[in-house]
């Protein structure tokens, strides 16, 4: 694809080679930010990583590098491999919660321990599009079959979830996946993968959404009605 999604906010776009190894890529980013110097003060930086697929961990590292520069925040990581864009910090302009430790691999089976920022994705994610976030993700729209949302925290879809959602992707098993219409064939939380039974139920009546929440309970993923959620 020659033309990519346009960066938001008009801030500088840092293009990073897609063939380099990740370590080199981090060095390049540091160098670029240092070179831009005062120009990036208070700016919303967009990273263009070409056809590279970033893991959540890599995304967090890149965000950490950007955050080291005063007043700079990462707004968007463009990843052309999916034709879509993974946005960071869309809703939360505030710097991420100071010193919030990443959730540990052995998460409790209670409430999500993740206190990071939430991102708002105000569109439908279509097949092949992917959002990766170091916080929670709220999608105002549908997540269609073949689309992917990966979050360190919770995934909330104000619409139909038909694609893949991975909450607590860094190991937080207290994370949840919630949707107005939970129609996904598979839900992932932490290290768990829950799959709809074969011969799955018929799709819900679009007129009457049934909000549901998927969470880890007794070592497996269970789906419950969202009613009565605090």
């Amino acid at each position: 694809m020659e033309q990519r999604a346009l960066p938001r906010g008009g801030g500088p776009v840092v293009r990073l080679g897609e063939d380099e190894d990740f370590h080199r890529l981090c060095e390049r980013l540091e160098a670029e930010l240092a070179r831009l110097g005062p120009e990036v003060q208070g700016a919303a930086v967009t990273l263009d990583v070409g056809a590279r697929l970033l893991s959540t961990r890599e995304l967090l590292e890149l965000e950490a590098i950007v955050n080291r520069y005063a007043g700079v925040r990462l707004v968007q990581v463009i990843d052309s491999s999916g034709g879509g864009a993974a946005e960071a910090g869309g809703a939360a302009d505030a710097p991420s919660t100071g010193g919030a430790a990443l959730p540990e691999g052995r998460g409790s089976a209670r409430r999500s321990t993740w206190a990071g920022p939430a991102e708002l994705v105000r569109r439908t994610l279509r097949s092949g599009q992917r959002v990766v976030s170091s916080g929670h993700v709220v999608v105002l729209g549908d997540v269609n079959s073949g689309a992917e949302v990966v979050a360190a925290g919770d995934v909330v879809v104000i619409g139909a979830l038909r694609g893949t959602a991975h909450a607590g992707a860094l190991g937080d098993e207290g994370a949840v996946v919630a949707a107005l219409r939970l129609e996904a064939g598979q839900v992932r939380i932490g290290r768990h993968i829950g799959r709809a039974p074969d011969g799955a139920r018929p799709p819900a009546d679009p007129g009457r959404p049934r909000p549901e929440v998927a969470r880890v309970k007794d070592g497996g993923i269970v789906i419950e009605s969202a009613r009565g959620e605090a």
Binding site: M1, E2, Q3, R4, A5, G83, G84, T124, L125, R126, S127, G128, Q129, D142, N144, S145, G146, A160, R162, P203, P206
Partner: protein, 263 residues
């Protein structure tokens, strides 16, 4: 300045080329000047469906490389002088042209035609990037099958990334009787997933196969149901407000469509 519309789908075999030929023919029959561009380089088809294969001398790649002038390569339709085809090259592949070259070519066509319809190849690689370059609007063709719908969804996302944010959907080869029996996806199911406006619903119609093989678009056959649907699509493309026609005895089908269009 004309309007460039790319006809695309992601999945192959859902009816992009047939749609191009029929909508193009219907626009031309309505008095508009139309250029059809076959962007499926290496798998040339549109010339066959239009019945113009014998007249090809130069092709799109020749024009881009400066080996032929645009007007030398354009083939005038047998039926309508205001309908012309720019055929694809058959001996090259998708990498023979770039999106920048296509953009220039489409701009040149828009200067002398009211409508430029670009027939996009299947897939999401360079052929797609070439076909959408220079397009002002997009028609996404799908059939009521899960695989075709998912591919259409992918394509809609890619079109958005290319700045074509308002594509319209052509639902092709719908079989109302199967839908009624619950054996085929309903229009609502497809629209629920794709969430873009409809530009038309074309019923499955054997006459399309017959006319396509004869190189004679069904849109020019007066009593063809699919042909009628394609004529309606052309009129909607021209900005007319065309109500949905009842396929014989499909009262409930029509009722649902009315609701979808809000008429």
């Amino acid at each position: 300045m004309g309007l460039a519309v790319v006809v695309t789908s992601g999945k192959g075999g859902v009816g992009k080329t047939t749609t191009c030929a029929n909508v193009g023919a219907a626009l031309a029959a309505g008095g508009r000047s139309v250029a059809l561009v076959d962007a499926d380089i290496g798998l040339r088809n549109l010339d066959l469906v239009m019945g113009l294969e014998n007249r090809i001398v130069y092709d799109l790649v020749d024009v881009v490389r400066g080996q032929a002038k645009l007007r030398q390569a354009l083939i005038r339709d047998k039926r309508f002088p205001n309908l012309q085809l720019l055929p694809a090259a058959q001996t090259k592949d998708k990498t023979a042209v770039t999106p920048a070259e296509m953009r220039e070519l489409v701009a040149e066509l828009k200067a002398s035609f009211e409508y430029v319809l670009v027939d996009c190849p299947a897939g999401i690689e360079q052929g797609f990037a070439n076909a959408v370059a220079g397009a002002d609007q997009a028609i996404v063709v799908t059939t009521p099958e899960v695989a075709a719908v998912r591919d259409a969804d992918r394509i809609i996302g890619l079109l958005e990334a290319e700045g074509l944010t308002e594509p319209r959907l052509l639902l092709n080869r719908l079989r109302p009787q199967m839908v009624r029996r619950g054996d085929m996806m309903e229009i609502e199911d497809v629209l629920d997933i794709l969430a873009i406006p409809l530009i038309g619903v074309v019923p499955e119609d054997e006459s399309v196969i017959v006319t396509t093989n004869r190189g004679e678009p069904a849109a020019l056959v007066r009593d063809s149901r699919a042909g009628q649907a394609y004529r309606d699509v052309a009129r909607r493309l021209m900005g007319e407000d065309v109500p949905v026609r009842a396929a014989e005895g499909e009262a409930s089908f029509l009722g649902r469509l009315r609701r979808l269009w809000g008429t």
